[in-house]
């Protein structure tokens, strides 16, 4: 989407906001303002994932053009780092998220932000050495930076590497991947993809279809082109399009530091940005289409009382009857008894039940497998490897359930949006006849047949699911990232002291029993924790959807009431003034019609 078109859309939304204010319709104005905010900052999240020590943090730094994420030969990133745009540097350590959406923010962090050098303390939260075994209990660190690359709404999420010894890392990464718009899959140029890397790529691809593969550190590997070709073959087999992008974060950062464009040209980072732009563009299209749809709906509601009055001036009888029916319809959308609300509540209950069932089923399978394994090994000898495998497996299953949550919730939100679009059309008919709004099939901003694929789900362009509502960005992304994070449970904690290790061979059976029991309790705890987090997410989601659509229903009811009132008012109008009034209303309707057409033109890209 071109800058001009985006600017035009923002200008249009601003004008429409003014019209709402002039008409005394703050409720509609609120909707337009919220939409404008979302459109201007859509929050396009890109998760940087890969094996540990592949150079993920330096890649993030290279994209930002400045050293932000701690990079060290030894110490690794241990907590997800979320980097987004801010006019001045800020740092927040997210510890927990309670139901009220209040993060517990370390007051020191805020002061640090004011002091202006907050990112210096990033390492204290987000690295294994600064925050060993995550004693700080941090679930994610959020960094705000005035970096140009972030200005368009890009949110970069640096994740702990996969494959290191801390198995909890994988779950945080998978949770982040499950709600990302795109994933940068980073590997090191010194060797082709290994089996664990390909396994991880498969998991990532399943959780987020938009994968951009990056081959980092090409500045130190003489034969990187050969590795690139080998990796391209693997990517093709894995169904990842576009091939790998060779980069050198090192050269990019050197280039930024010394203002050397030749080094930056050689770094390959620009190509990564281009690829991300491609994905971001699809997201922006969804947001643009949603903004235009909102504009149409709001214009229609602003126009509705004007048209009612105008038409009633000519033939009151033909107008008032139908308007009374419309008002009844709109009244039916408000209040606790509304049908759509019941459908939402039912959908949410079904969703919870579905997730519950899925979580239980998956973890039961894990448990059964694990018990079999325990019976075949000596827990004293094989414990560490076993424990790591189990935690990995459990977090993998939880990530899968969380991906399912995203998908089902999205479907639910889409149904609701479509339902409401019908109500809006019924209550306040579009100003411009629908036929004239047909999206030009080949315009630059066109969204297929009104829908765009997003994460493998078809998102309806105008009404969009969660994405168009901006709900994913605000709720799912950051709860999930942080909440499935350090699964602070350690299986060993369920076993008294070092019993497992100290025991002798002849006590093998007793040891196995203990191990099975520990595993059982671990899986139970994990299930409980995951269940709690899933429930809290669905609760937030329900509240968000409910609030959004209750506001819309109230606005719609008000539009209907005002239309009826306007029609009734015209009954007593002075016959002499009728013609003048009628012309006046036509002029107002004409201005709204112009706004509507501008919105339509934007969507069709017909400029």
């Amino acid at each position: 989407m071109g800058v001009t078109a985006a600017d035009d859309l923002v200008a249009l939304l601003d004008e429409l906001g003014d019209s709402c204010a002039a008409a005394g319709r703050d409720d509609l104005g609120l909707r337009i303002r919220a939409r404008r905010g979302l459109f201007a900052n859509p929050g396009f999240s890109v998760v940087v994932a890969g094996e540990f020590k592949a150079g993920k943090s330096s890649l993030v730094n290279a994209l930002l053009g400045v050293d932000v994420c701690p990079v060290d030969d030894d110490v690794a990133t241990s907590v997800p780092i979320v980097v987004r745009y801010a006019p001045a540097p800020t740092l927040r350590a997210r510890r927990s998220l309670d139901d009220d959406d209040q993060d517990s923010v370390d007051p020191g962090d805020e002061q640090g932000a004011i002091a202006g050098e907050p990112v210096d303390r990033l390492g204290a939260y987000a690295t294994e050495s600064g925050n060993p075994a995550n004693r700080e209990g941090v679930r994610a660190v959020e960094v705000g930076l005035p970096a140009a690359v972030l200005a368009g709404g890009l949110v970069l999420v640096d994740t702990p590497g996969v494959g290191g010894l801390g198995s909890a890392y994988t779950s945080a990464t998978m949770a982040a991947v499950a709600v990302a718009h795109a994933v940068l899959f980073v590997s090191d140029a010194s060797q082709e993809y290994t089996a664990p890397e390909l396994d991880f790529l498969g998991a990532v691809r399943a959780a987020c279809p938009e994968v951009v593969a990056v081959l980092n550190k090409i500045d130190i590997v003489p034969d990187w082109k050969r590795i690139r070709d080998l990796d391209d073959e693997w990517l093709e087999r894995a169904g990842v399009a576009g091939g790998v992008v060779p980069t050198s974060a090192q050269l990019e950062l050197l280039g930024c530091r010394h203002s050397r464009s030749d080094l930056r040209d050689e770094s390959g980072i620009a190509e990564v940005v281009t690829r991300l732009d491609g994905v971001a563009d699809a997201v922006r299209r969804v947001m643009a289409a949603a903004a235009v749809a909102d504009a149409h709906a709001v214009v229609a509601q602003l126009a509705s009382p004007l048209r009612a009055e105008h038409d009633a001036l000519a033939d009151p009888a033909a107008v008032i009857g139908p308007l009374e029916q419309v008002q009844e319809h709109a009244r039916g959308l408000t209040g606790d008894g509304a049908e759509w609300l019941g459908a939402l509540e039912d959908g949410m209950v079904d969703l919870e039940a579905e997730l519950d069932e899925e979580l239980g089923r998956r973890l039961k399978t894990v448990l059964a497998d694990t018990e079999r394994t325990v019976r075949a090994i000596d827990p004293a000898a094989d414990w560490d490897g076993f424990e790591a495998a189990l935690t990995r497996q459990v977090s993998g299953e939880i990530a899968a359930v969380s991906a399912r949550l995203t998908e089902s919730a999205n479907a639910l939100a889409t149904r609701l949006a479509q339902d409401f679009a019908g109500h809006e059309t019924a209550v306040a008919a579009p100003v411009t006849p629908v036929g004239e709004l047909a999206f030009a099939a080949d315009g630059p901003l066109v969204l297929g047949a009104g829908a765009t694929p997003w994460r493998g789900v078809l998102v309806d362009a105008g009404w969009g699911g969660l994405e168009a509502l901006g709900v994913l960005g605000s709720i799912l992304t950051f709860t999930s990232i942080s909440l499935f994070n350090p699964f602070s449970l350690v299986i060993g904690a369920f076993i008294g002291g070092k019993t497992l290790r100290d025991s002798r061979r002849r006590e093998l059976e007793r040891r196995r029993e203990q191990a099975v029991e520990a595993v059982n309790r671990y899986v139970q705890e994990a299930t409980r924790a995951a269940d709690r987090e899933l429930k809290s997410t669905t609760r937030r989601l329900r509240r968000e959807l409910r609030t959004t659509y209750q506001r819309r229903a109230d606005a719609l009811y008000r539009s209907a009431r005002e239309s009826l009132a306007a029609a009734e008012k015209s009954l007593g109008a002075d016959p002499a003034g009728r013609q003048a009034r009628s012309r006046q209303l036509e002029a107002q309707l004409g201005r709204l019609d112009a706004l509507d057409r501008r919105a339509a033109a934007l969507t069709a890209g017909g400029r």
């Binding site: 010894l165 089996a195 290790r501």
Partner: protein
């Protein structure tokens, strides 16, 4: 090394008996093989994930670019390199008799003509190569594990399961019962294992665990050394990369899980070591030419591999790329730096300086202390395991007597008891208080089998100090052995250590066993220009 010869002597005697018992039976060849192994050089397997730099490190240790290395995965079959009188390669197919193979050398590396055989048909490739470096140690280059090509990983596991060692006699039945008392399992083809890794990846731990738990390669914490083999990449090729690598290795050494799996962790810049060990005059000349460039220009060249091989500079780009492939960006930067500092007046001088940077010498020293120092013990132990398995596989008249011999030696040799205790302490099967454990591990020879090393004394300490130190240590362990509230396992451990102290103390006046300088492979500079 006290008593090693006695132990090996007893193993040798048992093998002599076995030889006469099995003469003319199917087990004969197996016994002969075990005897040959007992008296042959130590077999060191170089293991690790794909692209951990196994072939490269092997070349560095041999001092010749023998094993093929390239950017893809290349070693698909175990290659055995041993000393001999002639240059010869032999193919050992899985089925059918061994046959000689024609070979040529391309840039030094051996390229074999496999005839009609596919790599997958081969159990192993034997290379006889007259080399001083191989005289004390047979080196085995193994296929990589966790490779994307899963068949290749399977080949690696087969090797460590003993499948690749068909000549090794009777270890194929896999019942492994003889290993129970030794904490080791059956005899694998290698006496000791160098485990190479780039970082400590979960797959590395899994592999080390699996081959120890299953007794593959007879690997135990005592005969395994972990090597950070592409250490220069940890510091992404910066000049101070090796310092970072040393730091990382220190941290890994303290990792509880790794401690249970290997003796220690050391960093080596394998590629640089290989290049230094085989530095050629033409490469030396090119490096000198580079240093003659204006500093700013040279710096631009060294910023990235692409710049180095593409930008205008001395020598044709292809030649510079070749240099880069051999040295890596870290090696090239380091060589340039050394030359600038005047540390490489001649090719041999530069080679020596580069070897020091690569830390290959540290690994050699470790091999000398850890493996060569207890070579006879490790070999004798492997021979006993192999013989035990052979006897179970081929029961004949008189084999019961051989089995009894094996049993007796296994249960009585104090050297084996020591190894077992050391392994038990490493794996946590036996636990002591931290300071006790540190002392016990040292006494058992973890830092070297020399009496002074066992006591933590300097190599120059006078005999009197050594004797006094032993008396002191002995008294401590005796107190523990008699402590009524000590745990059973602590008392058992103390008894073992008391015997160790007594035996060592008895050896002091006569045998302080200095290091044998000729014990380990040395590296020459080969010039081909």
């Amino acid at each position: 090394m006290t008593g090693d010869s006695g132990f090996v002597g007893r193993v040798g005697a048992a093998l002599d008996t076995a030889a006469s018992v099995y003469a003319g039976t199917p087990g004969e060849a197996g016994v002969a093989e075990i005897r040959a192994r007992l008296h042959g050089p130590l077999r060191v397997a170089i293991a690790g994930k794909v692209k951990a730099g196994k072939s490269t490190l092997l070349n560095a240790l041999v001092g010749e670019e023998l094993a093929p290395t390239d950017a893809g995965e290349c070693t698909q079959v175990p290659w055995w390199f041993h000393d001999g009188l002639t240059y010869r390669a032999t193919l050992h197919p899985r089925a059918g008799p061994a046959r000689p193979a024609r070979f040529v050398r391309v840039d030094g590396a051996l390229v074999l003509d496999l005839d009609d055989l596919a790599a997958a048909d081969l159990a192993r490739i034997d290379v006889e190569w007259p080399s001083r470096a191989l005289r004390t140690m047979t080196l085995i280059d193994t296929p990589g594990i966790a490779s994307a090509t899963r068949a290749l990983s399977a080949a690696a596991l087969r090797f460590f399961a003993g499948d690749g060692a068909d000549g090794d006699g009777a270890d194929g039945d896999g019942d492994g019962a003889g290993g129970e008392g030794d904490g080791g399992g059956r005899a694998g083809p290698a006496d000791a294992v160098l485990y190479l890794m780039r970082h400590l990846h979960a797959a590395d731990i899994a592999f080390l665990e699996s081959f120890q738990d299953d007794g593959y390669a007879d690997a135990t914490p005592v005969n395994t050394i972990a090597v950070l083999s592409r250490a220069d990449e940890i510091g992404v090729g910066r000049l101070d990369a090796m310092e970072s690598a040393v730091r990382v290795a220190d941290r890994y050494r303290g990792d509880g899980r790794l401690r249970r799996l290997c003796q220690t962790v050391v960093p080596v810049a394998g590629l640089l070591a290989q290049a230094a060990a085989t530095l050629r005059e033409d490469e030396f000349r090119l490096l000198r030419q580079l240093v003659d460039l204006p500093p700013a220009e040279l710096e631009e060249l060294l910023l990235s591999v692409d710049r180095f091989s593409v930008r205008p500079g001395p020598a044709p780009p292809a030649e510079r790329l070749a240099l880069l492939r051999r040295f890596g960006i870290f090696g090239t930067r380091t060589a340039v730096q050394l030359l600038r500092e005047g540390q490489g007046a001649t090719a041999p001088a530069l080679a020596t300086a580069l070897l020091a940077v690569s830390r290959l010498d540290d690994l050699r020293e470790l091999l000398r202390v850890q493996f060569a120092g207890r070579r006879d013990l490790l070999k004798g132990r492997a021979a006993l395991l192999a013989l035990g398995a052979l006897v179970r596989r081929f029961p004949v008249a008189g084999s019961a007597g051989v089995a009894a011999d094996v049993e007796r030696i296994q249960s009585s040799a104090h050297e084996l008891v020591e190894i077992r205790l050391l392994n038990a302490l490493r794996t946590g099967e036996v636990t002591l208080r931290a300071e006790q454990e540190a002392e016990a591990v040292r006494l058992l020879g973890a830092d070297g089998t020399d009496p002074r090393a066992r006591l933590g004394l300097s190599p120059a300490a006078p005999d009197a100090d050594v004797t006094a130190a032993f008396a002191d240590v002995l008294a401590r362990w005796q107190r523990l052995a008699e402590n009524p509230i000590a745990t059973g396992e602590a008392v058992d451990a103390a008894r073992v250590l008391i015997r160790t102290c007594e035996a060592l103390a008895a050896s002091i006046p006569t045998a302080p066993a200095p290091a044998q300088p000729g014990d380990l492979p040395q590296t020459g500079i080969s010039r081909r220009s």
